[in-house]
């Protein structure tokens, strides 16, 4: 029997081991699309930073990932959402070295550099959407 391909994953982020679960779930999904090891590592690293942000600022939230298409180019979309306090100054949060938590301040600007597309909405809670497209071989 042919193994059914999964097209999305959802991981609740409530405690610190969930970070590891989220990054392996998203990595496995992206592996089905044929991303190379370099890109799989970039995706897993981005998920790790986003999940840690959720724990640090909102305590709970979730990481969802799904397969997306753009003009027949497949890609992966990661959505990290929480209903925490949001971000007071999004522009500032995207600057390298800025952190309100005493962290490295590398999370969001770093994730933006790792992925092809990056959107953030911080009106009520925070939702970060990031996409990476499969490269042509």
């Amino acid at each position: 029997m042919k193994e059914q391909l999964r097209s999305e994953t959802r991981t609740l982020i409530r405690e610190e081991p969930d970070i590891v679960s989220a990054r392996s779930a998203v990595r496995d999904l992206a592996a089905q699309l044929g991303f190379s090891n370099v890109y799989l590592t970039m995706i897993a690293t981005a998920v790790s930073e986003l999940a840690r942000n959720i724990l640090q600022y909102a305590r709970t939230g979730e990481i969802r990932a799904r397969v997306v298409q753009n003009c027949s180019v497949p890609g992966i979309e990661i959505v990290a959402s929480d209903s925490g306090p949001g971000i007071a100054d999004v522009e500032k949060a995207l600057q390298d070295g800025y952190s309100t938590s005493g962290g490295l301040g590398i999370g969001l600007p770093g994730v933006r550099r790792l992925m092809d597309e990056f959107e953030i909405s911080a009106a009520s809670g925070t939702t970060v959407t990031a996409r990476l497209w499969q490269r042509k071989r």
Partner: protein
């Protein structure tokens, strides 16, 4: 303890076997800092070849292990960072500046040997 730590001569070798959570990394830091004193180690090697992700927290913890070991009189070398992990770390803006690194265990031991031979300044 999730990471086995072997003592070889006056070296401690911590060989990471699987993906580590933040708590596992913090535990490794406590354990190594304690063992440097207990075993009177002069060098610490941390093998990270099995880590598929080294993010900001892991980088910060590895750096603090090296600094703490240094304060306890031991040099630390991080060995085995995978090429794709190195790529992601650079993209993310993470660095292990000031921390000794080597390609593999053999090179790491060689580097520690050289460090111990350096003239005291």
């Amino acid at each position: 303890m999730k990471v086995p730590i072997l003592k070889q001569g006056n070296l401690l070798i911590a060989s990471i076997q699987s993906a580590l959570s933040d708590d596992d990394l913090t535990e490794l830091r406590e354990e190594l800092t304690r063992m440097v004193g207990e075993k009177r180690a002069k060098g610490v090697i941390i093998e990270v070849a099995t880590l598929d992700v080294i993010d900001s927290f892991a980088t910060r913890t590895l750096r603090s292990i090296a600094h703490m070991a240094r304060l306890r009189g031991a040099d630390t070398v991080i060995v085995g960072i995978r090429p794709e992990v190195a790529f992601s770390m650079v993209q993310l803006g993470l660095s292990l500046a000031g921390i000794h690194t080597a390609l593999d265990l053999d090179d790491g031991m060689e580097l520690l040997r050289k460090l111990r031979e350096r003239p005291e300044s």
